[in-house]
């Protein structure tokens, strides 16, 4: 087996360094080594989007990224969205619009929604649906999730 490497990352604004195997999956590094369990694993093959995080300005499925590929990168996970105890506007909107039911897809969905609004600040419903189509939800039928994102885009999260 390969030797461990020292992986340096900036996670949610903080510099972190961990010793991991180079081919360890980024989702495991986050959840097991950095104890950031907000990011979820739903399929392990990049289909469900539950493990979505932002890496150097782009959203990725963290189950498909080997640790070595993340060397030196800047990551955002669901834990980094809030400012202290103050939730991000998307988090408030998901809470108030019932955009989270079982909550398991929610962390990835929030990161994907944040990325969508960054790229496209005033999306229409079709653009929201396209922007979130890489994140599967089995509880909501997506209506309340779309409503939450729309509310934030229109400046009325709660």
């Amino acid at each position: 087996m390969a030797e461990k490497i020292l992986l340096r990352l900036t996670v949610n604004g903080e510099p972190r360094a961990v010793e991991v195997f180079p081919m360890a999956r980024l989702v495991d590094v986050l959840r097991e080594d950095l104890k950031l369990t907000g990011t979820k694993e739903g399929c392990g093959e990049g289909e469900c989007g539950a493990c979505t995080i932002r890496m150097d300005g782009r959203i990725v499925n963290s189950c498909l990224i080997p640790a070595i590929q993340a060397q030196g990168s800047v990551l955002l996970t669901v834990e980094g969205l809030a400012t202290g105890e103050e939730p991000h506007a998307l988090q408030s909107a998901f809470h108030h619009h019932n955009g989270a039911q079982c909550g398991f897809c929610t962390p990835g969905m929030l990161i994907a929604a944040e990325d969508l609004l960054r790229r496209c600040p005033n999306p229409d419903e079709a653009q929201i649906r396209e922007g979130l189509s890489g994140n599967l939800c089995r509880c909501t039928g997506y209506v309340k999730i779309v409503d939450a994102v729309k509310a934030v885009a229109e400046g009325r999260p709660a």
Binding site: K40, G42, E45, L136, T140
Partner: protein, 735 residues
Amino acid sequence: MIGNSAIRKEGRAKVLGRSRYTDDKTFRCVLHGATVRSDVPHGILKAIRFGEGIPWKEFTIVTAQDIPGENIVAAIVPDQPFLVPVGGEIHHAEEPVLLLAHPDKYLLEKARRAISLDVEELPATLDVASSDRVFKEINILHGDVDSIWAQAAHVVEADYRTEAQEHLYIEPNGMLAIVAHGDHQDQVTVCGSLQCPYYVHKALVHLFNLPGDKVRIIQMDTGGAFGGKEDYPSLIAGHAALLAWKAGKPVKLIYDREEDMAATTKRHPSRTHVKAAFDANGLLLGLDVDFTLDAGAYATLSSVVLSRGAIHAGGVYRCPNTRIHARAMATNTPPSGAFRGFGAPQSLFALERHMDVCAAKLGLDPAELRRRNFLKLGDTTATGQLLKEDVDLAGLMDRTLADIGYTEKRKLFAAANETDTPIKRGVGFSVFMHGCGFTGSGESYLASVAGVEGLADGRVAVLAASTEIGQGKDTVFSQIAAQALKIPMDMVEVAQPDTKVVPDSGPTVASRSTMVVGHLVEDAAYAFKQALIQQGFLTEPYAPEVFREAVKRSHARLGSMKCYAQYHNPPHIVWDDKTYQGDAYPTFSWACYAAEVAVDTVTYEVKVEDFVANQEVGRVINPVLAAGQIEGGVAQGIGWALWENVEWKHGRMANNQMTNYIIPTSMDLPRIRVGFLENPHPAGPSGAKGLGELPMDGPAPATLNALQNALGPLRLDEVPMTPERLMDRMEVARG
């Protein structure tokens, strides 16, 4: 409080990423568990072989002979082992044979693959049509159906089938077990992703042969369930606990997606023959339904799934002569299990498709044929249940048809479909009901209990084993208790389901949590308030702060005060399990759903462009959460209708990946338009009825009825109607 869209109680933790699901909890010394399974559907296990190159001494290994108690999952029928012993019979592929645990999950996976099973294969029954082993048979008889065929103006018969469906909760199954070895007896604790803590509790009591207080089951935050975490978690919890017991260390057994899809339960595939007779005016004279479910290799919950399916097979129509013959058959496929709707989506698919087929034969609009036959106040159902509620099915249907623009769209689409456009459009609908709570005598047999406890800080806690699985139970129970106690919701806490803390409120299934357990929560809250008053801590009327002080004082003086309420069958509800006659359910929820579809006749892709879901579910306790439940159920129903196809290969699921088992994304669905008609019913708290399963029943027939409208006469008899199946049928129709 009731009727307000209170915000989801546990929602803040969920959006902040702070909820604790099973795999989020860990210990430094935890071992990872793995399950070795059969890869053949039927045979005798001759030997287990351990391959070369694995340090087997480092592993905890559990086989059937290690089991300290009974090697049988305690369920309705005790037929399923936790592990197949050497010399024992393997009844399905993916059946568990051996368990492994090790600190290193990568080495563990290597070891799992290094184990091989010597199996003497036996012939396997993989098609339900060739099965001759019956798990359960039900006959519902009303009138004399054979007497009316000759006198009927129209007799229409057809076959329908539905295939397996995977729950695909986004959180796979998982359990974390800790076993403390005591001087006299062990203490087994399992935390996990599950719907029914007391089902798991019962299974482990028998597995370890321990008294009830030595087994503790705790529900972690659960990432979706839909019936898929009703019975199978008993096996996973048993496996994790056996490994922890043998290793003397905590063991985490988390399924990956492929294992979860291949090994755990699915919706029962069904085969239905429907024969219906009408008089010259389109009045239903007779209905003969033959309904078969593929139960898979073990009995599990199939008898009760069959029961619900059979009772719903007659639908929402008045019919003087009905015969429903239903059976659940054994095959050598992994056992089928509970899935939202529980047999009703299967039988209602057949009936609601058949009503459209009959309407075409009779030359009537589908709405008109249904209107002439709807059940009304004072009518009786196939089980002889007298309808005592003023159900307005015609009103529900008319509102739905108006909402979707049925009449105008049928005209518009008929004209447009005549042109040479490759895109054909149609609109269709279904009308249906769903029985609330357990079937027949189920609720009186369960005799569920829920409680309310006073806390030291003056708040109260709801004590119930009902699990929050995304549906909003924590919020709704808080609303119910707050309303009864006249206090704000933030003065109500809902206890985590932990068998050491909460009473047995029965399983979180059968659209029963709000109506049945919620009613017990309401009764317990009233009893709690009464106790405070009788003991002189409180006088009415009071302000919330006065209540808080009263609870604090009672706690300081008497310690924690708990009041419980238990379910008692109302005397007017009578059911006979032998004849299948009587009140099948305390009440029903009623609905009409309509779909508009566009079919690409070149690629055979179907898009649902609009969907209206109107229902009468009694009083709606929380409109936003209720709508969320309906929207999610409709999405699963559309998925089942069009895309979600389990491919079987020699008794195993071949497409056990999210890549090739297709559930709807946000781009595949329209905005689902939900409406509620409120007709409060005394069976539930503040008049609420059940609604969790209802939305699974209607979308498949509505979608296929819309397809029929778009494409004309075509054999649309099966779900999922995948592009491949649609192509086959259109090519047959074209000759």
